[in-house]
């Protein structure tokens, strides 16, 4: 527990001093603010250069479709910010031998890995919910129509939180595998994007974590029984990857 507490505190300090909070803020909340504004301004900016039938399509956004559009953009851009900001969580510590003094002072692998996971799990969850609520606020002001409510927004945000917690567990494991953090970052991006392809396959998709994103966008019916296997598998993946990361950190040569 003392390693967990010490490293949790250290991660907060590191995120402040190395601007990780700021970068994640830009990748999540700032985007939530910008997305509806761009959506509103885009038809006006492009009106003169687009054919009449196309511009009417751009003008047809409701609150629902604007929010769904934001979620799609959040996944695409947020994943990049997430991967490139957090890819070095363990890789940098191992490569630059920063764990030597802490390990010989009694730090344990389990406490350190869990502290990193919980810190960024909580951070991402807070940023996701704030981002979704910010987006809802602007979408509600700038667009009309649809059934979007704060309840739906919170439900969708919860599914995104769980999804990014799965990605974080996998990224942490990848970061412990590769000395070059960029490899871990690129692999998690490829994983995230390619998994989305399976959302086109109704038979398989409830068993993959990306179904969480699919259901988050299904704002008429966000929570239903089809999410039960997805939730169980997602939680299982988190546990498995954290366990694998701890095991890996116990076995690797720190020096």
């Amino acid at each position: 527990m003392r390693t967990f507490n010490a490293y949790f505190k250290k991660e907060i300090l590191e995120a402040i001093r190395t601007n990780k909070y700021l970068i994640l803020f830009v990748g999540t909340i700032f985007w939530a603010l910008l997305d509806p504004l761009l959506l509103k301004l885009l038809p006006i900016l492009l009106k003169s250069s687009l054919p009449v039938d196309m511009s009417s399509l751009l003008l047809d956004f409701t609150r629902d479709s604007a929010f769904q559009n934001f979620m799609g953009d959040f996944f695409e851009i947020g994943t990049l910010f997430f991967a490139f900001t957090l890819m070095g969580l363990l890789a940098n510590e191992i490569t630059f031998k920063k764990l030597v003094l802490p390990y010989t002072s009694g730090a344990g692998s389990a406490g350190m890995v869990l502290a990193k996971y919980f810190h960024y799990g909580v951070t991402l969850s807070i940023f996701i919910i704030l981002s979704f609520l910010t987006n809802y606020f602007y979408v509600d002001k700038l667009f009309a129509g649809g059934i979007l409510s704060i309840g739906i927004v919170i439900k969708s945000a919860l599914l995104y939180m769980l999804y990014y917690c799965v990605l974080l567990a996998i990224l942490l494991f990848l970061s412990s595998l590769f000395k070059r953090s960029l490899i871990a970052g690129i692999m998690i991006i490829i994983f995230g994007y390619t998994m989305s392809v399976f959302n086109q396959l109704p038979g398989i998709r409830p068993y993959l974590p990306n179904y969480l994103l699919y259901k988050a966008a299904d704002i008429r019916n966000v929570f239903n029984n089809s999410l039960i296997p997805t939730t169980i598998i997602s939680l299982g993946l988190i546990i498995i990857f954290i366990f694998l990361t701890i095991r890996r950190m116990k076995k690797i040569d720190i020096a």
Partner: protein, 308 residues
């Protein structure tokens, strides 16, 4: 305090440690000396639990290190050759992290940090980011982190090799201070003067093999020999060859224009050497009789090992 038996470590096909055994007495300063790549850091990383080993046994405080690793780590402090820190932290914050990891009592932690910063002379820079520290400051910072929890055994890996003469002297003074506190110190170095100044026991490691483990006083007793250092005007290759032919000369080593003559009988040597050298045209510009030092012993041992 530390007992190592038949320790082996391989990196792929390369044998970094070839079944080494040695013992370290409680409260002593154990000098682990060897050339770069001899296996010193590998041994230290194994003894501090940072890397694994292939076979052999390690006992620390009488306990099997493999079985009681986590417990024993609490009694160990380690200063790596190039200590790496979280550069965005300042000295106070870093020692606070180390204190928290060591399970330091909250009330006593602040006092201990102040005390350590004072010992390693970093009090003035305690609120500056470590990333901006000089090499010497980082080394002293590393030492403060290593002794934060008052370890019984302290591993120091080349603590002074990257430092300027002033920094080296400061580091040796700090080690001397720790020796007075009866901390068992395992000091790895290739700077033999440093080892000679602070160590009680010397262990020479070369190509993954222990060549010798002996107390410094015993070592001098066994290898006590006088050496004649003679400085010539020109390179003394020919003179060295002719000296080697004499029965009272054990060995001659040449370094530039200086020849160090190891002799079997100093009385004969003192009488005969000038007679012998007067046959040569090469003028003598300096002459000195001295005792064999650790460097001479080390070079002798390592060369013998290379010949095997």
């Amino acid at each position: 305090m530390i007992k190592v038996v038949d320790l082996k470590k391989n990196y792929g096909r390369f044998e970094a440690l070839k079944s080494i055994s040695f013992e370290v007495r409680e409260g002593s300063v154990f000098g682990f000396i060897g050339r770069n790549g001899a296996g010193k850091t590998t041994t230290m990383n194994i003894l501090t639990g940072l890397i694994g080993f292939d076979s052999g046994k390690i006992f620390i405080r009488g306990m099997d290190f493999k079985e009681h690793r986590q417990e024993l780590i609490n009694h160990i402090g380690y200063l790596p050759e190039i200590p790496a820190f979280y550069d965005y932290m300042n000295a106070y914050e870093y020692l606070d992290l180390i204190g928290n990891l060591s399970g330091y009592d909250k009330n006593k932690k602040g006092k201990r940090i102040d005390e350590l910063l004072d010992i390693v002379k970093l009090k003035k820079n305690a609120r500056r980011r470590i990333g901006g520290y000089s090499k010497g400051m980082k080394q002293r910072m590393g030492l403060a982190a290593a002794i934060m929890d008052r370890p019984e055994i302290l591993f120091l890996d080349e603590p002074s090799s990257a430092l300027d003469p002033e920094g080296r002297l400061e580091m040796l003074e700090l080690i001397g201070g720790l020796k007075d506190e009866r901390i068992t110190i395992f000091l790895s170095t290739h700077i033999l003067n440093d080892a000679e100044r602070v160590c009680d026991t010397i262990c020479i490691l070369d190509e993954g093999r222990i060549l010798l483990t002996e107390s410094l006083s015993e070592l001098y007793k066994k290898h006590i020999q006088l050496i004649l250092d003679i400085e010539f005007e020109a390179d003394p290759e020919n003179e060295a060859d002719s000296l080697k032919m004499l029965h009272w000369v054990k060995d001659v080593k040449i370094r530039g224009k200086r020849a160090s003559v190891e002799v079997n009988n100093i009385d004969i040597a003192k009488k005969e050497i000038f007679k012998e050298l007067s046959k040569s045209d090469n003028s003598i510009i300096g002459y000195q009789i001295r005792k064999m030092n650790l460097e001479d012993i080390f070079i002798g041992m390592v060369n013998k090992n290379a010949d095997i």
